[in-house]
Symmetry: C2
Subunit: 90 residues, 2 copies
């Protein structure tokens, strides 16, 4: 039962993180963030950070694994977005 | 400690679910899914479903709460996307 739930946790982590990868790669590569919403990415990044803290609190490896990677990706996108707003206005 | 982690869990759940809401509302309202990736939404929806199953396995209310709402939203978007592909080809 515990192994089954751990496997499901890691499958979940891999799937949701993978689904976020194409956007992250595209944004980091092109630096084009015009089509991305600042408020949406700010809320999402803060949420992922909270999930990461939550995972550390309850010592859940799957949650820590998924959200540390997603946080790095989301924070990178947010950083490029804020940089673009400050330098180019979008 | 337990109450603190529960609060962080619900804050995380509210933030990540909220960040997904504008896309869901826009898609359900306009039925326009041309700009959305079928593979990305399929992987994301499957991932959220796995998180929901994981939450049920480990009896974690914040995970169940966040992922049941996000699953309904993501599945609705995926449903509209598949319907559009079958009827209009995109």
């Amino acid at each position: 039962m515990q192994i089954t739930s751990e496997i499901i946790g890691y499958v979940a982590a891999t799937l949701t993180t993978s689904s976020f990868l194409p956007q992250a790669i595209l944004t980091i590569k092109t630096r084009d963030t015009e089509g991305l919403s600042l408020s949406m990415y700010s809320i999402f990044t803060a949420g992922v950070l909270c999930w990461l803290i939550y995972g550390i609190f309850i010592s859940d490896k799957a949650i820590i694994f998924a959200n540390s990677i997603t946080f790095l990706l989301a924070a990178s996108i947010l950083f490029v977005k804020i940089y673009n707003i400050l330098t180019k206005g979008n």
